[in-house]
């Protein structure tokens, strides 16, 4: 019996150790980047000397911002993410409401048609969508980056599910009181569905803040380039080379706002991503 107890204890210690080693290994990427972004550029990295320098400095951040217009990239990313978010919240709420509450001819067929967006990911349609954007005269605008995402099959699906869970009695009471459709939506359907909207919003923000390939294709100048494209251009600047503290500072610049948001709302983010996989 004692040996069984001991074995259990040893297993626990081993598992704790394994967890710690793996988690540290996984986290070493971001930890290194944060540490080195504050390392003086006068102290080049070398074998066995890749972490802290002798002092901490903010100079790398200033230098990075002077070498590339990160302020403009920030503005563009915020505009793109903001446009998408506002448009999506409106379109998925309206469509979700129609599919959950209303009866109309072709409802099922149209719903399945919209789900096509989940079956053929946008990334695969890069080439023809680029042609469409050119034809619409939107090339090299922030709108070009955002427009294809103004409607979301997944968001529509989520909102429909949320609305279907609203008790029928509540809806009937609203109808009895003579609520118009938008009063029903606003006062009865929406309040209990806010958590779903928030979950969708967080994953939408993350997804579009991080997007790279589509903006790479439809942007050409700083008037529309988001942070991700700006960062890659920055890493390819001739004068950067292997100046890691500078690269680390630029990288942290790009990820900081979202990362801080994530640290504060960790639980909500995880729930949001748990939802976002359920497609």
């Amino acid at each position: 019996m004692i040996s069984a107890k001991l074995r259990k204890r040893l297993t626990a210690v081993f598992l704790n150790l394994l967890t710690a080693v793996l988690a540290l290994g996984w986290a070493s990427i971001i930890i290194w980047a944060i540490v080195v972004s504050f390392r003086p550029s006068s102290e080049p990295l070398g074998r066995g000397d890749v972490w802290f320098g002798h002092t901490l400095t903010f100079a790398n951040y200033l230098k990075a911002w002077s070498l590339a217009p990160f302020g403009i990239y920030y503005r563009n990313t915020i505009i793109i993410v903001g446009m998408i978010l506002i448009a999506q919240l409106i379109t998925i709420t309206l469509a979700g409401f129609a599919f959950a509450h209303q009866e109309f001819w072709g409802k099922k067929g149209i719903f399945f048609f919209i789900l096509l967006q989940l079956m053929i990911p946008a990334a695969a349609l890069l080439v023809p969508n680029f042609t469409t954007i050119r034809k619409l005269g939107l090339f090299d605008t922030t709108l070009a980056v955002a427009l294809p995402y103004f409607g979301s099959a997944f968001g529509t699906f989520l909102m429909r599910q949320a609305f279907l869970e609203v008790p029928r009695d509540l809806v009937d009471a609203g109808i009895m009181d003579g609520c118009s459709w938008w009063q029903l939506l606003w006062h009865i359907y929406l309040p209990p569905s806010v958590p779903t909207l928030v979950a969708f919003a967080l994953s939408s923000i993350t997804w579009h803040w991080n997007e790279f390939l589509w903006p790479l294709v439809v942007t050409l100048s700083n008037r529309s380039r988001p942070l991700t494209i700006g960062l890659v251009r920055f890493t390819q600047l001739g004068e950067i080379g292997a100046r890691w503290p500078l690269l680390a500072a630029a990288t942290i610049t790009v990820i900081a706002p979202l990362f801080l948001l994530f640290l504060v709302f960790q639980r909500q983010f995880i729930r949001s991503f748990l939802h976002s996989g359920l497609k």
């Binding site: 309206l94 990334a123 695969a124 023809p128 630029a250």
Partner: protein, 301 residues
């Protein structure tokens, strides 16, 4: 639509409202999913090079783009790389995700930090993660080599410039990025398992390992099916880090399907071939989602 109007108007005024409410979503799906699919199929039957004056206007050439694709050594290399990439990263991410979920699903002090450590790559842009990984793969003083040396590795140091290691390097980054994301589904699955299953098992003296493989894993079969689908679809779509780390090189060693599509369209300016590639990619994506749908229906029954 005319049918709707007729049948409804017999009772009262036609109800256009639902159509109005779904129209924005419907228009986006029409313009940016349905139309481009048709467009890609159509254009794949034409020859059009944007960089050669006499081929700038599309000419109908039947199936020749597909013939060119499936006989081109470049494309066969890309297919091989993509297969290795998908078959390598997907199982690795899933096994790690399951392991991570088991490890952080224990009531131990500080376990929240570990969960954070595994999950945070999910919210980082792939290009910024790749920029940092560039350093880890740097020859000589890069942390990845230093790490491997402690296990006695003294092989080639320049991973990204080595045709035998470049693909593996971008696969490692993909696994690092994805495992924590997939972990949360197993974590949710584990927390939904009835606890008495484990209690009964430990009373029977089943070891932790047996509980894991004989009890937890089979019970989480649906989660695994679902997680595999996400992982496979992601593996085809996520190529951002390749732009930063290898640009598909050296000599095509780390070029995968979506990256190749980008090259053919935006570097070679070969619209016809890029359209044929798009069709291939659409067929792959559709068969994955449809297979998953059929499988999960059968599981659910």
């Amino acid at each position: 639509m005319s049918v709707a109007t007729r049948s409804v108007s017999r009772r009262k005024a036609p109800n256009w409202l639902p159509y109005l409410l779904i129209s924005p979503t419907l228009i986006i799906v029409l313009v940016f999913t349905a139309w481009p699919t048709v467009q890609a199929i159509y254009m794949s039957f034409f020859r059009q090079y944007l960089n050669i004056a006499k081929f700038r206007t599309p000419t109908f050439i039947g199936l020749r783009n597909y013939k060119e694709l499936f006989t081109s050594p470049d494309f066969l290399q890309v297919l091989k790389n993509t297969t290795i990439y998908v078959l390598g990263t997907v199982p690795a991410s899933i096994v790690l995700a399951f392991l991570f979920a088991l490890l952080v699903n224990r009531a131990v002090k500080g376990i929240g930090l570990a969960r954070l450590g595994f999950f945070y790559p999910t919210i980082l842009p792939m290009v910024s993660a790749a920029t940092i990984w560039m350093f880890f793969f740097t020859p000589d003083y890069g942390l990845f080599n230093t790490f491997l040396e402690t296990f006695g590795y003294h092989g080639p140091e320049n991973w990204l410039g080595n045709p035998h290691l470049a693909l593996l390097a971008v696969m490692i980054v993909a696994v690092w990025k994805n495992a924590g994301y997939l972990m949360i589904f197993y974590l949710a699955g584990l927390q939904n398992l009835p606890e008495d299953v484990f209690e009964a098992a430990s009373l029977d003296g089943a070891s932790w390992w047996t509980q894991l493989w004989k009890i937890a894993f089979p019970l989480l079969r649906r989660t695994t099916l679902f997680v595999s689908t996400i992982a496979i679809i992601d593996a085809f779509q996520v190529v951002d880090h390749i732009f930063v780390m290898t640009q598909g090189g050296p000599s095509g060693a780390s070029t995968v399907l979506l990256y190749y599509l980008w090259q053919v369209r935006f570097e070679d300016l070969n619209v016809g071939l890029a359209s044929a590639l798009t069709v291939v990619l659409i067929i792959i994506m559709l068969s994955i989602t449809v297979t998953n749908f059929v499988l999960s229906e059968r599981e659910g029954a």
